[in-house]
Symmetry: C2
Subunit: 336 residues, 2 copies
């Protein structure tokens, strides 16, 4: 299920940096994972990578052509399809995060077979799953959880992986969303699995491991989000985390996309996550709080974080603004 | 999405009454929904319905031929397929609860088109879904929840519907599993939807209704089941229940299929269900406890139920042994 790296990152003709979020994430967190970028005329976003054709990228060792961009509707336009065909003819695998599947085009499937390359539709990418067993497994696990969607759970997980590796801890990011999956080259987009298999998918994502190996599992949604809480709970149970890192955005007034739902208090959210997590790991604890404070001054942010740290007796950080080292150190010092 | 009734219930050659559980459930709860049964040689199970061929059933008004039985592996054997073909040729729709899809046989799909009938694979039966909105909607809702899987949530829901209708309440069973779906003729098997849509599916199953209309929603799994809790939580949020009925089996030592997981205490289970349900309905309350006491004497059962009723201040019943009228009366008297 591994997506072969390194990549050639396709940027299309995007002009909105947000539309290239996945490509930027891959380059930011796995700078060695890409040999170059490919953009079309009109594209105003650059990752600062060499501009390469599929053929040039193949010569530089690229293994997979990645459509790591978003476009309106998630459809694959005709001119992009021509480029995908070119990539396949050059012997590159193709990975796409778009809604429309590569494998919905019979000519692409046929061509991929002919050139013996693989098509990865990461939004739908999943192995044959079993229902969760709830059985304890060896290895240490950290899960990022949140007061809401889009509060930085993936960023926090990747930043924590990096900070822990800097402390010589054997830490490994585990992807549960499509962007994370392209960054890691493996994982399961857990919101796309059949609901019976949520916790089974989480067990698959972070399998049994050495006692001193750390999985840093990318969380999804929130137990307090009325649309997605089922995914969050299944992921919590299946991950069997030893430690939770709570993610939050300072000052967010209400649950994302639901103006009628005020955002939960961090306190209640920590409580309910720990309560539920004990079902599969009675020793679960809070390891830290990771906050997006970007809407506030540095002084306000620091005071807010200091208060959280005092209240919960764990490090509270803004991992973008001030780094996440203190949570990595806390985990190293407090690991059993 | 309605499966047209009445049915002809196919019993195949089953000799184990449990294998005919769905057919028996349909006949027990919707006695008017079937014109007859059809069994093959070797079948030792009978519903006491007239034995009819598809052609005879069609003449008696049958609209759908129902494969409401289980067989090893869930596959459709060759001789059953021949009978399905005969049913289609007689102008009957076909509904199946088996793992293998009717629609996986191109010849059945083609024949159904030719005879203008529909094929319903109820295990996979779903409309185009949206993510849950969490928005309040009118009408009253009761959801059955449980300390585990297989503690009588469907039975309790159907029994409560019947008891409430006897009190002239406008109550309607809402199916979330495949057996329930065949009984009601509509619904969604919620464990088969993509996990992002669990609460959206629950919202679809019990749509906005008259202020005095009651949906009695069939619960699934348990918040304390490490394999399925995500489904249970999404269903709880999407259902927005005004009332919960807790289902339980007296004396069950551990969570079903998971001997390493002791069964949760009813007290903790009531607490966590109410806590989570408040996210989408702050006024949710417990309406009763429905217990399978079949492993105990009548005296032991009555004492156990009396203690539960005293502790939780709601009716506690064994709906099979003693009926569920007291919960229906409680709902009628306490409805706002």
């Amino acid at each position: 299920m591994q997506i072969p790296q390194p990549y050639l990152l396709f940027l299309g003709d995007v002009s909105d940096p947000l539309a290239a979020k996945t490509a930027r994430g891959i380059h930011a967190w796995r700078p060695q994972a890409s040999v170059g970028q490919m953009s079309l005329s009109g594209c105003t976003v650059s990752l600062g990578l060499p501009e390469l054709t599929p053929s040039e990228a193949k010569q530089k060792g690229a293994q997979t052509f990645v459509l790591g961009i978003a476009n309106a509707g998630g459809y694959i336009p005709e001119d992009w399809k021509e480029i995908v065909i070119e990539a396949i003819r050059c012997g590159l695998n193709v990975a796409s995060g778009l809604h429309q599947k590569l494998t919905d085009f019979p000519e692409l499937v046929e061509l991929a077979e002919q050139y013996q390359v693989k098509l990865f539709d990461v939004r739908y990418h999943q192995p044959k799953l079993s229902v969760g067993s709830g059985l304890p497994r060896s290895g240490k696990r950290v899960l990022t959880v949140g007061t809401d969607c889009a509060v930085g759970k993936m960023y926090t997980s990747l930043a924590l992986e990096s900070a822990m590796q800097n402390l010589d801890m054997n830490a490994q990011f585990r992807a549960t969303g499509q962007t994370g999956l392209l960054i890691a080259g493996e994982g399961i987009p857990i919101d796309a699995v059949v609901s019976d298999f949520i916790s089974g998918a989480a067990e698959w994502v972070s399998p049994e491991n050495d006692a001193h190996h750390w999985d840093i599992i990318e969380g999804q949604g929130s137990l307090f989000h009325p649309s997605y809480a089922g995914v969050s709970l299944g992921l919590l149970h299946g991950s069997q985390p030893d430690w939770l890192v709570m993610c939050h955005e300072m000052g967010r007034p209400h649950t994302r996309h639901l103006p009628h739902h005020p955002l939960v208090e961090i306190n209640d959210c920590v409580y309910l996550n720990l309560y539920n997590a004990r079902l599969t790991n009675p020793n679960v604890k809070l390891a830290g709080i990771s906050v997006n404070t970007s809407g506030y001054s540095e002084e306000e942010a620091k005071e807010y974080l200091a208060n959280l740290s005092e209240e919960f007796q764990v490090p509270a950080v803004d991992s973008v603004r001030f780094g996440i080292d203190s949570i990595a150190v806390f985990l190293k010092e407090n690991a059993a």
